[in-house]
């Protein structure tokens, strides 16, 4: 067993885990932060995307111990209480989710897209940037709209 110390959504946490424990397992099983989901086992679906030190990563493809000392933000750390972040609000306003399972990963990826590409996103950019997030419900149409609208709202315009 190894000890990990991680700051999750601004709070320092620590835990004893096996070396093989994935970050997503630590989040879900140890911390009971079950908003981060697992939809595949080949690092492709993106349901598990969280931010580690400000960058999107697939938490199913990182050992918990590799995140030792890092700052991790999960979907639970995005809203201000029950007040949605502008990106979350954009998903609600544009019907960017149906079953909700891929949604946390989509939102975390969307925030990363805005961090890297700014507030004015064209459709082609968003579609390309969503390559690592699979949704079966929406056909992506409204997810793309949501990300564009959320990006714009984050810019305050």
């Amino acid at each position: 067993m190894v000890t990990v110390n991680i700051t999750v959504n601004g709070k320092p946490v620590s835990g004893e885990v096996e070396s093989r424990t994935l970050l997503v397992q630590f989040l879900r099983d140890n911390l009971r932060l079950t908003g981060t989901h697992v939809g595949c086992d080949t690092s492709q679906c993106g349901a598990c995307v969280v931010h580690v030190d400000g960058k999107s990563i697939k938490s199913c493809t990182l050992l918990a111990v590799q995140a030792d000392g890092a700052e991790v933000t999960t979907i639970e750390g995005v809203a201000n209480g029950s007040e949605l972040h502008p990106m979350q609000q954009a998903f609600m306003d544009n019907h960017g989710l149906q079953c909700g399972f891929c949604t946390p990963g989509m939102v975390m990826t969307a925030l990363d897209i805005v961090n890297r590409n700014g507030n004015n996103l064209d459709e082609a950019t968003v579609r390309k940037e969503l390559e690592g997030n699979i949704c079966r419900c929406t056909g992506y149409h409204n997810i793309v709209k949501s990300v564009q609208a959320g990006a714009k709202n984050m810019g305050g315009s």
Partner: protein, 787 residues
């Protein structure tokens, strides 16, 4: 229009919890003392089991139990069942091999369940599962749909000679033969409907708990129909009596059919939690989902159309082989029969139709309903064949459709294949779709594309489906083991807020919002004060669940009927309170009033009176809480025309969808925003089938496409934004005037895409999935043929 009522694009009530990570999916639920189950699965497609040695696994760290088919049989747990009977051409019911939840001496597909290991952690269970030593004697595998019933093939099940489950002829064979003999022209097409893996993003999961104090099992499970699960697990699997079995389908991350069925893992988890007297949790990883979820489609067909000199359809003849996999899944027999052949008329007034479906067993995962179920297979066949007919007759694809559409004044229209369509205006949808797609401008766009070295094509799909499943008497006659009504309970609490209990199940469809809007529209209560509750057999009355685009068309009507009962009762209570005659009470916008006066009371006040009946009408029961069951008199028949425009890169075979236009008739829309989302998702699913998704086994029965590394799911950059519009008609057979919209896109899209590719390349046909290589080869052949 009421801003929260019917027709309003209200934001979804369910979204808040999903957006902040507070969804409650099965695998999110953890209970004290839970153990973890991992299944030992067959690595062979077909083998006898000579022995299972569990001793090493039992001795491994953290292991609580290792259970096999012997333990299951010893406890009297019954095999998995198929709920619909199809009568074969020999007059006998379809052949139904035993389907044990854990193998009894034989395995029949890769992923088949051999044993279960239960341990303190999932890792330990997985480690120990590798130590279960199974002695297999491998048998030859049967994998091909086309060849499974050929002479000399390995026999899979003793009860199904020649690997045939049923051979089901349907329709006027002699009449069809005569029409073909006299036809001006016969068009013919061989085609494959590719096997798909349904792939809801949440893998299946189950959590079983046994309470020794109450002798009750609680099973949380990824289900689209908790009561059906409970009924089957109780009545056929002897898991526990219905009143001692609680099934909960909490938040479910997509279903698309794959979570209708009662699976081995769910039964085993429910049984094992009592056996080990600890909670048992299982959740599938994606590889397991590929191996052991029921798959969809997998038909091989020949279709023929007889026409007169004007391109009028005289008769259609269809021969189909349908792969049902290694065992019959819960509704496996129904999909290639009643859900398929009864839709072969499509939107056309073809007077005579004959079909023969041979359903076969193979050493592959069971095949069952997947978004559309049978109707996509029928639609793809009809709409491809119609394009071949157009080509053979030298007619524009829109023109041949127009010539053969069921005329608007012919509704209700009795097709030659059982269904009686209650409403439709097929030319209207076609016209609107052609306008939306700018069909007239296509030639100039194609010319512009040619100048860039690209081939542009445009394809139509005029589909009709039968949903709103279903009139119980009709499905009973056909051999279904259940009725397909739906139930609702609408309960006012004394403080005036409302709880709506529905027997349907929402796993992405937005029922919590749509149903609240329905209640708002009828009772005038703000949707913030309405909670829709579903998915728990301990909370809701018996219901049949969600599939076949039935929730609004059947379940919504039940809710509406319960609201009607509340209004009727409310009038009595209001009449007493307002000192008026019941006949003088009017109800509108949440208020009971005395006609012609300003005397009124709100429905909330009526509810309070009903629970605090100090001054109350004689003979009226206290309480404000009504139940309704609704059994539809007919299916509903959504229809529409989808037009897909694509561009092919002939050098690589890559197909890009440049424009997709859909015009659908869903009757009345409750929440247009949600409906449009359903259309988008359905189209993406259908495009996935047409271009990307092909489930593939090798000749040994190994699943080649067992992960997203090899099974191509549609991603955002595979798709365009879609142009969606409506051409509604009012269906007289549905009391709410609604039809259902969840499957339409998946039904309409595949032929639109393939027709567009055939059009671009100038080839007769290309099978799905039209992968770059397939398209490149077709382009090569077309070039060679025209040279």
């Amino acid at each position: 229009m009421n801003e929260q009522g019917i027709g309003a694009s209200v934001r979804r009530k369910e979204d808040q919890r999903f957006l902040i990570g507070k969804g409650n999916y099965t695998d999110d639920i953890n209970v004290a003392g839970q153990t973890h189950a991992v299944f030992v699965r067959s690595p062979h497609a077909h083998a006898e089991i000579k022995g299972i040695d569990t001793s090493a696994a039992m001795a491994a760290s953290g292991v609580v139990a290792v259970l096999t088919g012997e333990d299951l049989a010893a406890d009297g747990i019954g095999p998995l069942i198929c709920g619909v009977t199809v009568t074969s051409d020999d007059g006998e019911p379809h052949r139904a091999p035993a389907h044990p939840a854990l193998a009894q001496g034989k395995v029949n597909y890769v992923g088949d369940h051999v044993a279960v290991v239960i341990a303190e952690s999932k890792s330990e269970a997985r480690d120990a599962a590798e130590l279960v030593d199974v002695d297999y004697s491998v048998l030859p595998a049967v994998t091909g749909t086309r060849s499974a019933a050929d002479p000399g093939q390995q026999q899979i099940h003793e009860v199904a000679p020649g690997n045939v489950c049923f051979n089901w002829p349907f329709g006027d064979k002699d009449g069809v033969e005569a029409a073909f003999a006299a036809a001006h022209k016969v068009s013919k097409l061989d085609l494959v409907n590719n096997r798909m893996v349904t792939n809801p993003m949440e893998p299946r999961a189950a959590l079983g708990e046994y309470n020794t104090g109450t002798d009750e099992i609680t099973l949380h499970v990824t289900t689209q129909n908790p009561h059906v699960h409970r009924l089957v697990l109780s009545a056929f699997n002897q898991l526990a009596p219905e009143h001692k079995l609680r099934v909960v389908g909490p938040d479910v991350g997509g279903g698309f059919g794959a979570k209708i069925f009662v699976y081995a893992e769910e039964l085993v988890v429910g049984w094992a939690c009592r056996k080990v007297n600890r909670p048992v949790k299982w959740n599938a990883d994606r590889t397991e989902a590929f191996l052991a979820d029921a798959h969809g489609r997998d038909h091989v067909s020949t279709a023929e159309m007889a026409m007169d000199g004007n391109g009028k359809f005289l008769a259609m003849r269809v021969h189909t082989k349908a792969n049902l996999g290694a065992y019959l899944s819960t509704f496996g027999t129904m999909v290639p029969s009643y859900l398929y052949a009864f839709l072969l008329a499509g939107q056309y007034a073809t007077p005579l139709i004959y079909s023969e479906v041979k359903a076969v067993f193979t050493n592959t995962a069971p095949v069952d309903a997947s978004r559309g179920a049978g109707r996509p297979e029928a639609t793809y066949l009809v709409e491809r064949l119609v394009d071949i007919c157009a080509s053979d007759m030298g007619l524009d694809p829109a023109e041949i459709r127009r010539r053969n559409f069921i005329p608007v004044d012919a509704f209700p229209y009795q097709t030659p294949v059982v269904q009686c369509y209650d409403s439709g205006d097929y030319p209207a949808a076609l016209d609107k779709a052609m306008e939306l797609a700018d069909y007239d401008g296509f030639e100039s766009r194609a010319a512009e594309a040619r100048a860039r070295g690209k081939l542009r094509g445009i394809g139509f799909s005029s589909y009709v489906e039968a949903c709103g499943i279903a009139p119980s008497a009709a499905v009973g006659q056909l051999g279904a083991g259940v009725g397909l009504w739906e139930s609702a309970q609408v309960r006012f609490n004394p403080t005036g807020n409302v709880q709506v209990f529905t027997g349907t199940h929402s796993h992405g469809q937005g029922h919590e919002t749509t149903f609240a809007q329905l209640v708002n529209d009828q009772l005038g209560v703000p949707i913030e004060n309405i909670e829709v509750i579903h998915g728990d057999t301990a909370k809701t009355q018996f219901g049949m669940g969600t599939y076949g685009s039935r929730s609004l068309a059947v379940g919504g009507v039940a809710i509406s009927r319960a609201c009607d009962k509340l209004v009727a009762k409310g009038k009595k209570i209001a009449a007493h309170a307002l000192e008026a005659a019941e006949g003088d009470i009017e109800f509108a916008d949440g208020s009971f009033s005395v006609a012609g006066t300003d005397k009124a009371m709100s429905i909330g006040e009526v509810a309070f009176n009903a629970y605090v009946p100090h001054s109350y009408p004689e003979g009226v029961e206290p309480g404000f809480d009504e139940n309704a069951f609704f059994d539809p008199t007919n299916f509903s028949f959504p229809a529409g025309t989808h037009i897909c425009e694509i561009e092919v890169d002939p050098e690589t075979g890559v197909v890009e969808i440049v424009k997709y236009s859909a015009v659908d008739d869903f009757g009345r829309l409750i929440n247009p925003m949600i409906v449009e989302g359903q259309v988008h998702g359905g189209i993406a699913h259908g495009v996935g089938q047409a271009l990307l998704e092909g489930c593939s086994y090798d000749s040994e029965g190994q699943l080649i496409t067992a992960s997203y590394m090899d099974y191509a799911m549609p991603r955002a950059d595979n798709l365009p934004s879609f142009d969606v519009d409506y051409a509604p008609t009012n269906p007289p057979d549905n009391p709410l005037g609604v039809k259902g919209c969840g499957e339409a896109g998946a039904i309409g899209a595949p032929p639109a895409v393939i027709n567009a590719i055939s059009n671009a390349l100038g080839v007769k046909h290309i099978d799905m999935p039209a992968t770059p290589e397939n398209v490149w080869r077709a382009a090569q052949q077309a070039t060679a043929a025209s040279a």
